[in-house]
Amino acid sequence: MTEAILQVEGLRKTFGESVAVADVSFSLRPGGALAVVGESGSGKTTVARMIVGLERPTSGRITACGHDRSELPRSARERRRRGGEVQIVFQDPYSSLDPRQSPAAAIDEVLRLHTPLDQAKRRRRVAELAELVGLDERQLAALPARLSGGQRQRVAIARALAAEPRILILDESVAPLDVSIQAQVLNVLADVRERTGIAYLFISHDLAVVRQVADDVVVMRHGSIVERGPAAQVLDEPRHPYTRLLRASVPGPGWRPARRTISKETR
C-alpha cells in the first residue's frame, strides 16, 4: 500500500445544535479517485469545504501531502502552500469566475501566486493548461458572460490545475451541466488525471457519473459514512440498505420505485 495523499480521520462539524458531519474517516491514494456519494444534507459538501479550509472542523484530523491541515492556516505562506496541495472546483459554473476577469487573466493570477515564472513563460503555461482542458484562444480571452456553463467549468478546472495541486476536489462540478456537455467535461477529467497523475476527491449524488469517474466510493448519509469500497462493488452489490435505496432510486426502463408516506417529517 502506498502512503495516502489525503487522509481524513474522525472529522466532525457542528453548526450550533445540528451535526453536519459526524466522525468521517477516509483516505485517498496518490493518483486515485475517491467518490463521496450522498444526497442533500449528507454533509458531503461540508467535508470538502473543511478539507480546503473554507470551514474549520469541530474535531478530527485532515492530512494532505504529509501536512496537517486540521486548523485554519496561520500565515500567508502556509495558505499558499496548502493552495499548491489541494484545489477545488465548485458546482455553480456561473459564479465560479470573476465576471470582470478573462479566463487567461484568472489562470495567470494563480500562476503569479504559485510559480516564479516570468510573463512569457506564464503565457505558455496558460496555453498549455487551456489545451489540457480544451479551451481555445478566443475563449481564453473572452469574459465569463460570453462562455457557456461547460466552458466555464473547464476554466475553473484549468485555474485549479494552475497551482499544480496533487489533489483536486470536484464538488458536484458536472451536476448542473447538460448531458452532452457533462460527457465532454468527464472526458476532460479523465484526460487530466491520466496526464498529470492528480488524485480526485469526487463529491456527487449521481451514481452513474461516480461509476464513470471513481475507483473507490464512500456513501454518506446524515453526516456519517454508511458504506465504502471499490466503486464496482458498492454500486453492483450494495450492502447497506441506504446504498440499496440509492441504487434502486436511479430510473431506467422497467423501473418501479417504492412508495413511502411522509408523516413525521416536519420540514
Binding site: 489541494v86 477545488i88 470582470r100 487573466a105
Partner: protein
C-alpha cells in the same frame, strides 16, 4: 496580462440617463465657470432694485435685498454641489471600508459594527445636523459632517450584505483556496465587483444629501447668510413669495429639484435594483423586500 475591464457591463444609460447626466455635467460646469458669466457681485445689495425685474446685465432680476439673482444662483451652485460631494465622499469612504472589513473579518468586529450601525439608524440626518449645530455652532462644515455620519449606516449595511454575498461566491472562495491574501482578494476582486453598486448609491445619495443640506441651510443652520446657497435662497425668498415675488425661491428651489431628479434618474439607471433606503426615511430595511 491584465483584466479586461473595458467590455464588462458598461452601464447603458439610455436617453433618460443621458439627459440626467447632461443636466449634472451642465450644473457642474456652470458652478465652475459661473461667476465669470456675470459681472454682478452676488453679495452687493442695492435696495433701490429690491425684487427688480430682469434687465440687461441682470438676466434674472433682483432679490428682496436688491442683489443680482443670476450671480447668487451661480455662486450658490458651488456650495450646493460641493456640500453634497463632501457628504457622499465621506460617508461612502467610511461606510464602504467599514462594511467590507466587517463582512470579510466577521466575528466580533462584525457584531460590533452591526450594533453601532443599529444605533446610528436612530438619528435622522437632519436631526443630527441640528444637534451638531447646537453643540458646535451652525455652519456648512457641521452640517456636512453630521449628514456624512448619518448616511454611513445606510451605505454600510447595503455594502456589507453585498460584500457578504460576494464573499460566498465560488470565485472568491476559489481564490481563498488558492492561498491569495485577503487584501489582494478585496482590492482586486471584491471591490471592483462592488463598484457598480457603490457608484449607483453614491449617485442616489448625492441627491439625498443635496436636499438634506438645503433643509439645514433653510433652517439657517448650514451655509450662513449673506453667502449664497440654494437652501438659503429658498428661505430668504419666502417673504418675497408672500408679497408676490416668488422668483428667488422658485429659481433656487427649481434648481434643487432639477438636480435631484437628475441624480435620482441617473442613480436608478446605474443601479441593478439594489439600493439603500433614503437616509432618515427607512431605517433597517430597504423599501422593497
Amino acid at each position: 496580462m491584465t483584466t479586461t475591464l473595458a467590455t464588462y457591463r458598461t452601464p447603458r444609460l439610455g436617453p433618460l440617463g443621458t439627459a440626467a447626466a447632461t443636466v449634472i455635467v451642465a450644473a457642474v460646469v456652470l458652478a465652475a465657470i459661473g461667476p465669470a458669466l456675470t459681472s454682478a457681485d452676488p453679495n452687493a445689495s442695492d435696495f433701490a432694485h429690491a425684487y427688480g425685474a430682469p434687465e440687461p446685465g441682470h438676466a434674472l432680476g433682483y432679490d428682496g435685498q436688491g442683489r443680482d439673482l443670476l450671480a447668487r444662483l451661480l455662486t450658490g451652485a458651488r456650495t450646493s454641489l460641493l456640500g453634497p460631494l463632501w457628504v457622499v465622499a465621506l460617508s461612502m469612504a467610511v461606510g464602504t471600508v467599514v462594511a467590507i472589513a466587517a463582512a470579510w473579518l466577521g466575528g466580533w468586529l462584525d457584531s460590533v459594527v452591526s450594533a453601532v450601525l443599529e444605533v446610528m439608524f436612530a438619528f435622522p440626518g437632519v436631526l443630527l445636523a441640528m444637534l451638531v449645530a447646537a453643540v458646535f455652532g451652525p455652519g456648512l462644515t457641521s452640517a456636512v459632517l453630521a449628514l456624512a455620519v448619518a448616511y454611513v449606516p445606510y451605505i454600510a449595511r447595503l455594502v456589507r450584505s453585498a460584500a457578504l454575498a460576494e464573499r460566498r461566491k465560488p470565485y472568491v472562495q476559489a481564490l481563498e483556496v488558492q492561498g491569495a491574501g485577503a487584501v489582494a482578494i478585496c482590492v482586486r476582486h471584491l471591490v471592483p465587483n462592488l463598484m457598480p453598486l457603490i457608484t449607483a448609491q453614491a449617485t442616489l445619495f448625492f441627491g439625498y444629501a443635496m436636499v438634506d443640506l438645503a433643509i439645514v441651510s433653510f433652517f439657517g443652520l448650514g451655509v450662513q447668510p449673506p453667502d449664497a446657497d440654494w437652501g438659503v435662497m429658498v428661505a430668504s425668498g419666502q417673504s418675497g413669495v408672500l408679497q408676490g415675488y416668488p422668483a428667488e425661491s422658485l429659481l433656487a428651489g427649481g434648481s434643487i429639484v432639477l438636480l435631484v431628479v437628475a441624480f435620482n434618474v441617473l442613480g436608478e439607471r446605474l443601479s441593478d435594483g439594489r439600493r439603500a433606503p433614503r437616509p432618515g426615511w427607512f431605517p433597517r430595511r430597504g423599501g422593497v423586500s
